[in-house]
Every structure is written in C-alpha cells, then in structure tokens.
C-alpha cells in the first residue's frame, strides 16, 4: 500500500499547522473533557476518522515534547470550529486541560485516512468504548446526512461515563448503552445483542473504536456473517505524517502480515485485516 509516491503536481498541501484559539475547555464527566477551538479554514477540510496532532502546552509540571494525536470529535468549516474529546491521562492531556478560553493551541492536521462509506452500507452498526466514542461521533453525523440507518452501542465502565448518547440520538441513531457495572458490556453479551440485529437483517457494516476485545468479537461476527467493517486504532506517534515509522501495527494482507503506519495508512483500517 503506497499511499503517496505518486502525488499530483502542482503542490497543494493536504494538511497544515495552524493556531486554534480555545473557545471552551470543560469537563464532560469525571474522565473526559471537551475542547472547542476556533480554527482557520485551512485545517477544516476534514473527514470523520481523521485526527490532529496537538502541540500540547508546556506547564510548570509537564513538558510534553512530541505532539499528541487526537481524533476529531467534531468539525464545522462554516462555523470555523474544531472539537476534541479527551481523557486526562498524562503530560500532554494535563497540558490540554490547562488551556483557558482565548489561549492559542498549535494544531497540525487533518491527518490520516478517515472512514469510508460505500453506497451499499445502509444499515450501520457503531460499536465504541471510552474515548472511541469521540472518533465515531463525526462518522455518525456524516452517516445521518447521507440518510443511513444507525445503531450505536456505547460501552462504558458505568452508565454515567457513557458519553455522547444524546449526540448519537440526535443523528437518528438507536443508542444502546452497555456497562461494566451491570455486566452488559462483556463482549459475549454485546455479541448476543448484535447477532439479534444481524438476524433481523439490520447490519450492513461495522464501525468500531476503543476496545480490541470488542473488535475481535466483531471480526469474528463479520467473518461468520460476511459483514465488512472498519476500525480506528491507536499507536504511539512521533511525526503523525508518515515519516518516522513509529506508529506501525501489523495487519493481515493476503496470506502474510504487513506493517502499516497508523498515522498514514490509518488510523482507520478494514476490520478484517486487524491483528489484535
């Protein structure tokens, strides 16, 4: 898979480094925060599933050096707005959490390959866990715009941590919340849920993000029922542009195994090719 060796001339940049201005940066629930930026048009030609590399601010405590990859939670070229949903886990996200309205944030993007949506994928099953919900949110919006039917399974540790349920509903999705607290999030439980829908003919494709256990279950279901799907994956990154080879993961290709760069060939890949 050689993405870019043949590039059209003359030169047209496909992504850009720009300064966004923080409009809002608020806690969504215990674990997650929402960052809303005013962003220039040059970085707003996005596709669902793409991501940005954020130059997280240096604070007294933390000096994140590399950029941090962050899925696009929402983008709106008309409003000049870009949104990220993030979980505060380390130096980079602690830095992000320190941003206040009016502060600048250097963003690089949009990066990577987003989700595809062929015409014959009409009934879509979205399965997301944790911050994976952020990645699938813009996909749901696009699908809704294209008139697709959506079912969204949102998996979380506890009901109060299931995010974006209302957002998915606003895109016409049937939303099913499964949680660790009542055991409904176990892959086998989710499998039963989905198999019921497959039997009623309501699943043309899977989209998933956020749990490799769920992904393996979906691979299995997909193989059994001939249902295609896509997954957005994560990997430690340095450049985000395809130059450093930090972010490779192994994938099945034909009879063999190949490394692909999550930042360049991904972060979205055919579900069936994932090795996880």
């Amino acid at each position: 898979m050689t993405v870019c060796l043949d590039r059209p001339e003359p030169f047209v940049p496909r992504c850009a480094e720009a300064t966004g201005v923080v409009r809002e940066n608020t806690a969504v629930n215990g674990d997650y925060r929402l960052l809303v930026l005013d962003a220039p048009a040059q970085v707003l030609d996005c596709r669902p599933g793409q991501f940005f590399q954020l130059l997280c601010p240096v604070t007294g405590e933390d000096q994140p050096f590399l950029r941090r990859p962050m899925s696009i939670y929402d983008y709106d070229a008309a409003a000049g707005e870009l949104r990220f949903l993030y979980k505060v886990t380390g130096a980079g996200t602690r830095g992000l959490a320190s941003l206040r309205p009016g502060d600048g944030l250097n963003v690089l993007g949009p990066l990577g390959q987003g989700f595809s949506m062929p015409d014959d994928w009409q009934n879509l099953m979205l399965v997301a866990r944790g911050v994976g919900l952020a990645t699938l949110a813009p996909l749901a919006r696009t699908a809704h715009g294209l008139g697709r039917r959506l079912t969204a399974i949102c998996s979380a540790r506890a009901p109060e941590l299931a995010m974006s349920v209302d957002l998915f509903r606003s895109y016409g999705a049937e939303v099913i919340v499964v949680t660790d607290t009542d055991g409904s999030s176990h892959p086998e439980a989710v499998r039963s849920l989905i198999e019921a829908r497959i039997e009623s003919g309501a699943v043309d494709a899977f989209y998933t993000c956020g749990s490799y256990r769920l992904a393996r279950m979906l691979q299995d279901l997909g193989a059994k029922h001939g249902i295609p799907g896509e997954i957005a994956v994560e990997q430690q990154m340095a450049c985000g542009l395809g130059m450093c080879q930090a972010c490779v993961r192994p994938f099945r290709e034909g009879a063999g195994t190949v490394h692909r760069r999550v930042c360049r060939e991904g972060p979205v890949f055919p579900l069936s090719e994932l090795i996880a």
Binding site: T2, C4, L5, D6, R7, E9, F11, P13, R14, C15, A16, E17, L55, Q63, P64, F65, L66, R67, A91, N106, L108, Q235, Q236, M237, A238, C239, G240, L241, G242, M243, C244, Q245, A246, C247, V248, R249, H259, R264
Partner: protein
C-alpha cells in the same frame, strides 16, 4: 548563487538546510514544497527487507525524544524501482542513506545505489539500534576506517559518513573516516539512552534502549561538529537538536557548512522552511554575502578575566 548557496566538497547546494535521515519522507510534501530544500536525505535502508523493532518505538523526554525504530527497510529493489523514481521529479540533490552489517554488504549496497539520480551516499555507520548494546562501526576509529575504505572502493559518488556520539574517541573516528576517503562527515546520529515507565516498570521502548534526539543532544552534536571541523579537512554537516535559527548559526559558526534537521520537524513540520527564511534574513540584515562567511568563525576566547599566573592555594 545566492547568499544561501553552500558547498560540501565538490557538491553545491542551493542552501544549507536539509532533513536528517529517518525523519523525512515524501509524506512531508503534504505540508510544503520539498523543492526548496538544500538536499533530500532519505531514511536509511538496507539491501534486504527488515521489519524494524517492536513497538513502542518512540517516547518523550525532557527537551527531546527517544526512538528505537530499528531501520525497517523495504530493501534494494523497492528503493530502485519505487523510491528513486519519485525523487527524480525534484531538482534537489538526493542523498541516499544506507546501512549494513558487514563491510562487504555495505560496499555492495553502495555500489548498487550509485546510479543516476543519486547525488551522494550517506553511510549510516552509527545507528545505535542495529548492533547489540548499541555498538556500531562508528564507535571505534579502526572499524570506522575499515568500513569507509570498503565504501570508498565501491562508489565514485560523494561519500558522506555519519558518525555517532556514542564514542569516546570522536576525533580519531573522524580522522579515520577522512583517511579512508570520506568526502564529508555528518555529526551526528542519536545518543544511546533508556527510559523506564515507573508504573509498569517496563522500558518505554520495545527495544529497551534507543537513540535520543532533539534539543537535549544539541551541545553534544555541536561539540562533535567543532571537533571534526578543527581536526579534519572534511566538510562537516551538523545534525542534532537543531530547531531554531540560533541553532543553525551555532553549528555554522562551529564549522559546519550545512545542517540537517530531524526531530524539530516532528514538532513543527514547517521548521526547515522557517530556518531557510530566517537564515536568509539574518545574513541580509548583517550584509553577509554568503553562508561561507560565517562557517567556522568561532572565536576562541582570550582568557577573559585576568587569571592569577601561579597556582597558590585557593580561597574557599
């Protein structure tokens, strides 16, 4: 000829700013027109395909990063049939970085890439990840001399030799490369380091150890640039932690005739553009006609405050 034109031995570059091997691919063309660079230095490759190291392959550090990518390579065929044709579209000297585990393999690969479209070969004899425990040819003067001699016999192209900071004898190594026929020295590759995740107690890199790059190693690379420039007659290309115009100037003043930019491109992919503009403006503002006029102009200090002549016991 502009202010920015610089020479590396027999080669003339439009400007002294180029990428460092392993931090640059055609993908950067997503961000700016790669035609503006002084040279294109490609990722090191080996004759045989290689997978590279297990992940995680990179981690953050104070003022830098560490990598153990491990030189994944698609091999010689892919290079000749796919990579090389792509770069021919640019009117920029193409520098091909190669590596190998033996003198003969190294020489064979050098011969194989000595084809039209390649302007120079950069021999990566300093990568700390390939050999056990970070050892590489570039650690010792004798092993450096031997491999460079083999490479010299195998190619007529300008031969750049990229050295390692992981040595106790940088001057001897540089002189050995010169004696064996190198045309230029690249100072330098990454510095061997390690980091541990205290929670998991695992090394932060899949390969346990890795190469430090970025601002943290700049003083080491600058010291080696100065050592090579003052102890050999070879042109020196500075590399290590360069991210600002001030950094570029420091390396030029220390004796480099060009510089390579690696990690800084990860923090800001337009770094090299900014350095180009900045250098041009700086020279113009000072009425300096050519980059060459500042290369190697470091002025060694007269012992600045008067120091006592004898050596009496010191006051405490």
């Amino acid at each position: 000829m502009t202010r920015l034109t610089t020479r590396i031995g027999a080669m003339t570059l439009a400007n002294p700013i180029m990428p460092a091997s392993g931090t640059f691919t055609e993908d950067l063309a997503d961000v700016f027109d790669l035609g503006v660079l002084g040279a294109h230095v490609l990722k090191t490759f080996t004759a045989e395909p290689r997978m590279g190291n297990p992940t995680p392959r990179v981690c953050d550090l104070s003022a830098g990063m560490m990598n153990a990518i491990g030189i994944p390579s698609k091999g010689l065929d892919h290079f000749l049939t796919r990579t090389l044709p792509f770069w021919r579209r640019y009117d920029v000297p193409l520098v091909v970085s190669i590596s190998a585990h033996s003198h003969d393999d190294f020489a064979r690969l050098a011969a194989a890439v000595s084809v039209p479209g390649v302007a120079a070969i950069e021999a990566n004899i300093s990568c700390p990840n390939i050999e056990a425990d970070g050892r590489a040819f570039a650690v010792r003067a004798d092993s450096t001399g031997q491999v460079v001699a083999h490479l010299r016999r195998a190619t007529d192209l300008p031969l750049w030799v990229k050295l390692s900071p992981n040595t106790g004898e940088p001057v001897e190594v540089a002189q050995a490369a010169e004696a064996a026929g190198a045309d230029a020295l690249v100072m330098a590759n990454t510095l061997l380091g390690m980091a541990i995740d205290v929670e998991t107690r695992q090394p932060r890199l899949g390969n346990v150890m890795g190469g430090i790059s970025g601002p943290a190693i700049k003083p080491v690379a600058l010291r080696m640039t100065y050592q090579a420039a003052t102890n050999t007659r070879l042109p020196v290309i500075g590399c290590g932690g360069i991210s600002t115009l001030n950094d570029v100037l420091e390396f030029l003043i220390a004796g480099a005739t060009a510089v390579q930019v690696g990690t800084a491109t990860f923090q800001s992919p337009t770094t090299m553009l900014r350095l180009l503009d900045g250098l041009d403006d700086w020279l113009a503002a000072r009425g300096i006609a050519s980059v060459a006029d500042i290369c190697g102009t470091v002025s060694l200090p007269a012992v600045s405050p008067p120091m006592p002549a004898a050596m009496p016991p010191l006051a405490s």
